[in-house]
């Protein structure tokens, strides 16, 4: 039975009683394990008297071991408690104290997801970028150019002709000084300024060899490359024939262009949708207050760091902050606060407005995620039922999307003209320059 002894903000202090029989059981277990593992000359394994064990191992150490076992028992009891199951627990329960009387009294601190207070978001204005027709046309031209490059026809160059920028080159290569079967590779020679290899290969003929040192490799491996073929790339003319060759559905070049226009506009609309949702959720975070203790936040940060250390990710994360632990902790603090604000606010709004995520919706979303993996519906259902973390993550994503959608209904979406954007940027620049001259 769980006894709540203190409630403060999002922290509940609870007392769990472990009965005397269970305490005895824990004591027996500790001595059993000790006598199995402690080797003392003159005694067979498991035959060392308890008092002798206490003298050798130390009474305090043995008591600590018993306390550890009792704490585990209390934790199991806590996890099985119906009241605890109803709690929205944020972190694993933290052990506060163990009072070893006849019945052991174990005190835990339970950190719950904090409650939130949300200010109204009514009439919130969201500025979205404008998609100008000329920008669409520019993107269409770029896409057509990419398609031309991709579908270029390769024409072999003569024996005396040399490699030029834009040519397609086939090579055989091996590590210099190592006797190994050469491997083959082919590539298009691009701007010589972008790579040493392009610089070295320009002007070479079929049969020529070059030495190339891979600067990106830690060991600076040197490769010997032999040119086996050079092709001139002939780009197709932009006409109806080209349109048909790259897209069977497009009869004319204009039809292909129209299709590309629709694709670009579709991608832009998807981007705007995500942008709007992210913006409104960030605004929501700014308008949300957490009812949470600093101690809880600190524990959360330490918990994240501990997890990262377990997964050997901590050093990597710290690198981004040039090894400054305090700066990293500060950034984690902001990130966690923001996460908790959005999570709390989204759940509160969903509850108030009756927004729910059904199992079918979760399944459909999972299907979308795993569409490229060809997983059967049955297998996906089993995976979702087995992997609670994945199920909950998808559910959470969907709930966020739905709440964002609901909030966007009352928000004012303003399309920011590209010219205005440029003007604003210029104004900003002017201002900073003015400030500089003032200084």
């Amino acid at each position: 039975m769980l006894e709540i002894i203190k409630e403060e903000e999002n922290v509940k202090t609870v007392k769990v009683t472990v009965e005397s029989e269970k305490v005895k059981e824990a004591t027996e277990k500790v001595f059993d394990e000790l006598s199995k593992n402690v080797r003392i000359k003159g005694f067979r394994k498991g035959r060392v008297p308890r008092n002798l064990l206490k003298t050798i191992v130390g009474t305090e150490e043995i008591e600590d071991m018993i306390k550890e076992k009792v704490a585990d028992m209390a934790l199991d009891k806590l996890y099985e408690d119906e009241e605890f199951k109803k709690m929205n627990v944020m972190l694993p329960p933290a052990l506060v104290s163990i009072d070893m009387g006849e019945d052991a009294k174990v005190v835990f601190e339970i950190h719950l997801y904090p409650e939130v207070e949300i200010d109204s978001l009514e009439g919130e204005e969201i500025e979205i970028p404008e998609l100008k027709e000329e920008d669409v046309e520019k993107d269409v031209e770029e896409e057509l150019e990419r398609l031309r490059e991709e579908n270029a026809v390769l024409e072999p160059k003569g024996e005396n002709e040399v490699v030029e920028e834009g040519d397609h080159v086939e090579i055989e290569y091996h590590v210099t000084g190592k006797e190994e079967t050469p491997r083959t590779f082919d590539f298009v020679v691009k701007d010589p300024k972008s790579s040493q290899l392009f610089q070295d290969i320009l002007g070479k003929k079929v049969g020529d060899t070059i030495e190339f040192i891979d600067e990106r490799d830690e060991n600076k491996t040197s490769y010997t490359m032999k040119i086996t073929a050079i092709h001139r790339r002939i780009l197709a003319n932009l006409d109806d024939e080209f349109a048909k060759s790259v897209d069977v559905e497009a009869e004319t070049l204009e039809a292909l262009k129209q299709k590309l226009r629709e694709k670009i506009k579709g991608s832009f609309n998807d981007f705007i949708k995500t942008f709007e949702a992210n913006t409104i959720l960030n605004r929501l975070a700014n308008k949300t207050k957490l009812k949470m203790s600093d101690h809880s936040l600190e524990l959360f940060i330490n918990h994240v760091i501990m997890r990262q250390k377990e997964n050997k990710e901590y050093e990597k994360s710290l690198k981004d902050f040039k090894g400054d632990e305090n700066a990293y902790k500060e950034s984690l603090k902001k990130e966690i606060t923001n996460y908790l604000k959005i999570k709390g606010a989204v759940e509160k709004i969903a509850k108030e407005k009756g927004i729910e995520v059904s199992e079918e919706e979760i399944f459909e979303k999972a299907k979308e995620y795993y569409s490229s993996m060809n997983i059967s519906d049955e297998r996906l259902k089993v995976t979702l039922s087995k992997e609670k973390e994945l199920h909950d993550r998808i559910k959470n994503d969907l709930l966020h999307d739905k709440v964002a959608e609901e909030l966007l209904k009352s928000a004012k979406i303003v399309v920011k003209k590209a010219d205005e954007e440029n003007n604003a940027e210029e104004d900003k620049k002017e201002k900073t320059e003015e400030e500089k001259t003032d200084e």
């Binding site: 000359k41 003159g42 005694f43 008297p49």
Partner: protein, 99 residues
């Protein structure tokens, strides 16, 4: 000379093994003793040291066993062991906490 030994010289250490601890219940205790002493000296030493009355003492000599450590050969040390049985009603309190 063996006669000059004090009780602290006679008794070297108690021997605590599975077998010896089992005998604690019969007020029988095992000690390693000086190799020069006899059972009467052991009796007197135990009576003086622990303030008890001894019923009998059994003495046994352990001969060192040949032992080889790589290329060097030698013997483990020899020692004398005394099993001391106390009169009824007597116990050595110092050993009581061990079992």
């Amino acid at each position: 000379m063996a006669n000059d030994l004090t009780p602290y010289d006679v008794i070297i250490r108690p021997i605590i093994t599975e077998k010896s601890t089992l005998n604690f219940a019969n007020s029988t205790y095992t000690f390693e003793v000086d190799s020069r002493v006899n059972k009467y000296q052991v009796r007197d030493a135990i009576e003086k040291l622990y303030n008890v009355e001894v019923e009998n003492v059994r003495i046994m000599n352990y001969k060192g066993k040949p032992k080889r450590y790589g290329r060097s050969e030698g013997y483990t040390r020899s020692f004398k062991k005394a099993v001391v049985k106390l009169r009824e009603g007597f116990k050595i309190q110092e050993f009581e906490g061990l079992i």
